[in-house]
Symmetry: D4
Subunit: 217 residues, 8 copies
């Protein structure tokens, strides 16, 4: 075959290999799902466009597709949180929703309770303060922002939870497709902030899930 599926990953990492849908054909995705479905009960494919998802589901109608998150997935039973602690997902503007939902669905698929705090960017900072107490009750936070990406610094200055910052490609001009908020977040003067790649809601949720599990034990 064209791929060497990493069946062993679930034992090393605690979660099966996730299919990176971008740059794969529908046929390749079908085959990967089929192989992984022989071994796993929950399988995700990220970055799957609406059309590609439809093509894959022609062969595998048992898969579900989330339009906002652009995730195609197989789950042998409905997704339900198994943790007590929650991952808080904050985003600055409504255009960040696809990234936020990629994070939310990944987190949920990995068994985490999720709380959403969307559209709380610094242009209207009272919206953040309004939800601050709820935010502080989460165990770990994912903070997503495009434009100048200032939100993680502000949040990081106010809470003692680990913050995973996600820059998004939302912006124009000197934004350079997410470079601006990426640099902002890497240079945060608030402590406790780590960063993932531009638009990488999946990766943020994956790390947040590992962290959230630590608090369950």
């Amino acid at each position: 075959g064209f791929a060497k599926v990493d069946y062993h990953r679930v034992r090393r990492k605690g979660f099966p290999e996730v299919i990176f849908g971008s740059g794969k054909t529908a046929d390749q995705i079908v085959e990967l799902f089929k192989r992984l479905m022989t071994q796993h009960k929950i399988i995700l494919a990220t970055r799957v466009s609406k059309d590609k998802a439809a093509a894959v589901r022609q062969s595998l109608p048992e898969l579900s597709y989330d339009h906002t998150a652009r995730i195609l997935y197989y789950a042998d039973k409905p997704l339900e949180p198994r943790t007590k602690g929650a991952i808080g997902i904050l985003c600055a503007g409504t255009a960040d929703l696809p990234v936020a939902e990629e994070a939310a669905l990944t987190a949920l698929a990995m068994g985490n309770r999720v709380k959403r705090f969307y559209d709380v960017g610094v242009a209207g900072i009272h919206r953040l303060f309004h939800h601050l107490e709820q935010i502080k009750q989460c165990r770990v936070l994912i903070v997503i922002a495009g434009m100048e990406g200032a939100l993680p610094s502000v949040v990081g200055g106010l809470v003692h939870q680990p913050v995973i910052a996600v820059p998004t490609s939302v912006g124009y001009g000197a934004h350079f497709n997410g470079l601006a908020p990426l640099l902002t977040m890497l240079n945060s003067c608030s402590s406790g902030v780590t960063v993932v790649n531009i638009d990488n809601g999946f990766g943020a949720a994956y790390s947040a899930s590992l962290i959230n599990q630590l608090g369950e034990e």
Copy 2:
């Protein structure tokens, strides 16, 4: 001579030519002061190092030098504000002081009342809120920040004054000597924010002064 002094500038722009000290020899700065002193009552030279300032003052002991602002200047009488309205100068951290003081002294030399709000960065955002009412009483704001440069966005979301944002070279790594906060400020999601070059306290104060004068009329 090596230079064509722009005596006419005070009539076009309202303030005499300012000497950009960096990359000029002490001798050249002496000569430029001498020529300008034949026509003007207040003359600034910015970006003058301590040693160069001392060398210039050997020939021209009537000049004053501000160590933090790195400005060497001639004034025929003590600098005093002539405006009712004030320029508020905010900076995020104590390492931004040289830029803040370059702005403050320029603003003062141009006749403006100045109010300082230093070390009010977003890592401890309550410090900003604590001074917010005073800040709102200024007519125009200069907001200076290094690291991720989030402060102008936060301030811009809270006030209706024009904000002039100044990124500084304070930071390291993916800061790229001020590129990070420069991009942050250019992409601000708050309205009413314009930007000047990295570390350009002088330019921020110059524009702020023009704006402040409009409110005097």
Copy 3:
């Protein structure tokens, strides 16, 4: 809802939240207009393509759309300037018109008198000098240029008004979609020039309006 509308903004900033149309669906824009129309008498959505505007106006036929400025807006009565002082809008070439008109319509919507001086770039600098006296009668200037972006420096050297410089993405090759004129403007050797993001006519007008109001008082 997917968004937390910032109704409070008009009190903090003096103008209601403006919808950033890019990256939002027509449905989301419709809903945001509906919510904002419960409270405000003038509402703007910038960066709305012709097609998206048409889709939105199917639900909300009372909205107006400006094709050049790409702004969709609601106004309970015709837009009319309320200020004595004018914002002068200069642009270097005819390809900069969309940015210039985004600025002009924003300025007008915020109540400002607007004067246009288009196609006065430095390749034929006599065109600028021809209008210089009129330009000097404005209270604040927005100077827009693509290609090498030299116009704000030239204007800034000739006038005592605050200049807000807007680089545009008009150019090719080593222009890097606006990076070239952005750097030009940030490094201006003329004093009194501040800069906004590439193609950000809206932001330039917003700041210019704040400044223009100062002169009204």
Copy 4:
């Protein structure tokens, strides 16, 4: 004073304000220590050069200085780990030691047990496998690398712990002072990896400490 000390931080963030030594004078650092010592029992100043540390310690001989970590600190009693779980600190080459020790001392000062695995880079990958079982017994990992920065991806593929990756400025040419490993780490194909700024051992340890505490509860 020139600074607004954030005494409140310990309550918001669980650890007092840490002094960023770079760009501050010895006098400023002395004053900041004095003020913070009125309230806190452990205080760190990072990025303090050997000479500046000596100057500060003339006024405050009770401070300790770690040459490799370049940290100057006050502690009312010897630093001792209070956690059961350990933070594992891995680095690729011996030139990464200053960053690794900045992380180690910060982690220790925040009460964490620390395990060091140094010089285990991918050029001799058997060195990593040799320590893998011990590495897997840590609760969270900091993985530091200069040059091409491949180590965090390799580690992230082998373990289920959260990995905080730190690019260092060790390298030359197309390394661009740490840009190369920074991009490597942001694009990691292994899941569970988040990233901090180039050479930011402090920030990595701060986040790792927050995460490690979660497992203590």
Copy 5:
């Protein structure tokens, strides 16, 4: 004609001029094949899209087209390896296949035995170790990777063969279309690694073939 075909190249370089299909019209490619076919028995055109290939084959049905490799070629007889030594081609993920196959077909067309080791990236490094003995039996290795591009460093640390590293444009965000793995590979801490342009499977195979031939003599 529009082109000066380099018939002499086969004598200088050992292989005829290869047509770079990108940016040429189907008509131009037809004419170049016709001219080269007067002199050579094997001719390649790389970077030919499916549609362009079909158009060219209307005039020249004797050409073959490989969809994955995007190579259109003429061969007077079936391609068969003439070397004893093999070129090993490794790639990290399945999305790197087009680059890997461009390399494989080029290598084969130049007479080399080829061994493929695909989808052996560092996220599941056991897949690499599983094939290591076979890999070590090749004479020279081409190692292809997108995302963070760590694979060549890992391979380079384990083998004594010359490694030619090929970064691919597979990735997103701070990947910058292949810049991230390109920098990774240029900064490899493993010795014996040289690098070609992003996605340049052809160039890697060309050099690998020259090297492989040295071992045949």
Copy 6:
């Protein structure tokens, strides 16, 4: 009108204003031609796509269009060289033809004799030497190259004519749309080489024409 046509340019610069077609509508181009045709006998519009050209020629059928050069132009009589001296135009590969022809047609329209030497890149350097005597008989040279852009340096080392180097966007990967050959040409170790913007055949020809005229006098 939307534009201030610079009728005066022919007197200042010796050639009428040239229309930059990119980013203008067909209607705007029609109007500009109409206005310029009231005063000038030869008028060029560069960067006009095939479709836009067709639309313009519906209103102005007297215009000519060159498909390769993408130039739409008006000439009251057939273009004929008026100079004794020739401009030599060299290009490295066949994909550089559009830029080469943009230069050739501009040069011709400005009255220059033109000699073409196409597809003489350094991969087969004998092709250059083969034409060297003819190249040396030109008065000024335009040397165009994509990929690594080495040709101007090689030519510049062999001739005493002024060389105007034009980098093209032909390439991929670490070419960055022409940045690679642009830097190559700016750093040429051969003397007598100046550079214009990526793909700027027009600008190269304009300067070459000014230089060529000097030799006519």
Copy 7:
């Protein structure tokens, strides 16, 4: 020897090889002068620091050194212009003098009449207009500027001479050591402008000399 002196260059290029002093030891420069002095009557070494020049002149006291231009040179008789036409050298600010004088001395050494117009930048554009008639009497212009580098565009819009633009490293912050004016000049909207490397006064003069000679014939 360590070098292969290119004695043949004077025949190919019309001027002997010029020594690039930067990165060579004084001993190497001495040897190169000695070898070149066996064949040529005028020899230049550029980028020679004051100290290195002194060291070289210990062995070769017949050499002259220009402190501003940083050129060390041998001339068998005093430098005198041999051309009727002049090269005009303009610079924007006084900090650009070293580059301007590198150009002036190179031009003179190659036999050209030189006219200097220094400190005529766009911040005080009347200074340029004041000298415009004299500038127009030159045959070719070198226009040098740091900061935003707008001067060549303005000059290029006013004259019909070929303009060679030289960006300088004079500036700070978003100037990036000359990148800002380099991009400005490459994107000039004025025709007839070509560009050389940052601070390359030598290269500009070399090309200007070739052009000036054309007018002599």
Copy 8:
């Protein structure tokens, strides 16, 4: 100890671990030599400054130091070539010598015959042709160039040997410390060229040695 010496490397890679001297203290280098000398007969440390070398040799006087190559090394007997085939080392200018000699000494230490062809850059291309026959007798070529880095493309177009290109940091302005020639070499239109990091003479020689050995068998 601070380091995990990779004694095993000689078996995996055929040559012992090489010490990267930059960023290590003299003490660390002494210790590494001592440990490696227990097992190996030839040991290199690259990037060792003159002063650091002297300090190390105080403890280990049996080491040799090459000033141009900046390599400190231990060899139990004089270095002598063991191969029949030679590595040809070409460089463009005399300022590239340190990189060329780093390559030469590394190659020699690894047992290779070395032939040097220095100062054969494209500004005087006849120097290259003069040595072409000798160059063609080598088995593999290292081609080193700063400035625009065109030499590897020219050489690659003329020979059938594998070419390893090394960009150097020799240049200024838009050279960006070697970025310009690095991009040139990565985009080479000549086949058979691979690239190593800027100034990486060591890495080029290492790969060249692996390749040269293949021809010995």
